[in-house]
Symmetry: C2
Subunit: 389 residues, 2 copies
């Protein structure tokens, strides 16, 4: 096991009706909030009105900025930074999913910084100060509600870059599973894929002797795999929605990764798909992850066999563990198919794939080889894209 340091101070407020306390929790941290959200869904559902009422009841002043898109854009975050400065905002309340939260985090480090906030994402500067961020979560997926990361897309060049910093960890996150009843089946499926990927990125490691965290990862994966398909057939089952929502948070608050070194190549390979085609992150991961697995599994057949056995219940073939390993990858693909997410690039209706693949492979490896489990150069990434065709 590797040495580690773990800190996750986000207060989680979980359960029915909890969103009506958004104002109370915001008032603990700020006097004037930026209410940040995405499209019209929170207005249609009535959530917007309830949060606004809650802020008013708690005596919190606020300004608002909506319009966050999936794969959140740098330009909107920059607009938010200007607005927050002009209005003297001291706290950001994000109401939405990972994109809204990531955009809020970007604004939170941009407000007190004199330079261009993109410099942080390019690793040209390190965030030292940030406004506090609170969350009312509507889409369980990214885990951004208590994670230390933010992923932003710079439209100028279609770069999608993630940044991790303790400054990004939200002060509180309100998780009401009822708010996810209206989430379409496809979005629910993409969310489940994203959280499963967050666990798998940590699970595939070269670090030996990680028994407890292996078991915790497997527990989370089995819970996601058990519950995600149930939400499709009964979207208003509170307990199923609650399990999925809690899975999404624990998949990415770093706890299960302690003492391990995760891989994360698949996320980077997917980010280029999202950046180029503006596709849903979860859908991209369902395409990339099985291809990555096929490309690297021989590096550690035992670990892939353990994945197959412990996560999907594949009987362990003592005489041919490779069969067990491969069956695990097949089961994962069948699971994604059941969820209704694409598992091949060719299913996703993407234009100019042949021309874009070499470019995406270059971009995915522009800083360095990708991946800690197996180090991948551009040529490897290109092969993985082709395995995903």
């Amino acid at each position: 096991m590797e040495n580690f340091s773990f800190l996750n101070p986000t207060r989680i407020i979980f359960g029915k009706d909890t969103h009506t306390k958004a104002g109370v929790y915001t008032a603990e941290y700020g006097k004037k909030a930026l209410l940040h959200y995405g499209g019209g869904s929170i207005k249609r559902s009535g959530l917007y009105d309830q949060v606004v009422q809650s802020l008013k009841d708690a005596g919190v002043n606020f300004v608002e900025l909506g319009g966050v898109q999936p794969n959140p854009r740098l330009s909107l975050a920059q607009k938010g930074i200007e607005l927050a400065r002009a209005e003297g905002v001291d706290f950001i309340l994000a109401v939405g999913g990972g994109s809204t939260i990531d955009s809020a985090k970007c604004i939170s480090i941009g407000v007190p910084y004199e330079g261009n906030v993109w410099e942080f994402y390019e690793n040209k500067a390190i965030p030292e100060k940030a406004l506090g961020v609170g969350v009312v979560l509507t889409i369980p997926a990214a885990g951004s509600e208590s994670s230390d990361s933010s992923v932003i897309t710079n439209e100028d060049g279609l770069y999608k870059i993630g940044l991790s910093s303790d400054a990004f960890i939200p002060k509180f996150a309100i998780l009401n599973p009822e708010l996810t009843y209206t989430l379409p089946a496809y979005q629910t499926a993409c969310g489940a894929t994203d959280m499963l990927a967050h666990v798998m990125e940590r699970y595939f490691t070269n670090v030996r002797d990680v028994d407890l965290s292996d078991k915790l990862c497997e527990a989370l994966m089995r819970a996601i795999i058990h519950n995600a398909p149930l939400a499709a057939s009964n979207p208003e089952d509170y307990n199923v929605r609650a399990e999925i929502m809690w899975c999404g948070t624990l998949a990415h608050n770093n706890l299960i990764g302690m003492g391990r070194i995760g891989d994360w190549a698949s996320h980077h390979i997917e980010h280029e798909l999202s950046a180029t085609y503006d596709m849903a992150h979860g859908a991209g991961l369902a395409i990339v992850f099985p291809a990555w697995m096929k490309y690297v599994y021989k590096h550690d057949v035992t670990r892939f066999a353990q994945f197959a056995n412990k996560v999907f219940g594949v009987e362990y073939d003592f005489w041919n563990p490779e069969n067990t390993a491969l069956e695990g990858i097949t089961r994962l693909e069948r699971f994604f198919e059941r969820l209704g997410v694409p598992i091949r690039l060719t299913q996703a209706g993407l234009a100019d794939l042949e021309a874009n693949i070499p470019l995406m492979a270059q971009k995915a490896t522009r800083k360095a080889p990708q991946g800690q489990f197996v180090k991948l150069e551009a040529a490897d990434v290109e092969k993985i894209y082709r395995l995903a065709m």
Copy 2:
């Protein structure tokens, strides 16, 4: 699943050599520390000298108070409160196991309180202010290094009472598995029993639809059961010691109990044993828990069968689940026997059991019926003690 609120802001610093940073972390929170510890073992091992050097290197002034005993005494904590006030201490560094940490927590709420600190434990007052507490952990067991609880024994009447409060959550906890190499096998076993009990208290619940937390509990229990016996045969195996240490923390930082209502009767029933006979808490739990299970398992045979199947790999008997449930309890007893802890009161060499059992049963239920899974009156507790004979 029940609504819940979760907050665990303890910074965990885990791994080799980490104890040499005790001074650096202490300096973040205080100018003058109370260095609190138990008997002579930290002096014999050299840990005391290293921590003192670390405090000096970081420029932290300190006074010290040793002498914490297992089942930490109110009288020593009161001495610590007076010392801390007289010396202007603003932070407490506990170096030791659960007893030392619990004693430090008692001091931490006593210093800023004008009344008698025992009033908090008697629920006559609620802690509102506390000094910060940091930990260098030497015994993985109680989970007190990041828990919100403290258990203190009042020698006047032999009362052992636990108190939970957010004010008790330590600021940081330094966990170096190497510090546990010299822990005797019996103490290691008692620690493993304690942490397993912390999970079981949460596992046996009447709350339905707790799929993820069930799986997380089962993962933790399997990791404890796998690793604890390995430490006996190879006490200096870093990875085994690391797994056990991390298990102890996660078993009691409340994460795995979220959305559930735990039972906790066995802890209260055991506390009276410890208070009366000054026996090790873990040893007492190994005696009490199987007896409690035998007394209550019919209340929910399915849950006990799930425990047997998921934790001990007992084949599920579809036609007679009660057999599966009972086999799980037997396997637990065999596990405790392998660890070398007593599983019967009569093995523990306790005097005047016949006379003390009714008294202990009364004390265990003096505030109210004990247990949330099954509510137990004094007569039930008495039967459980007799089942443990």
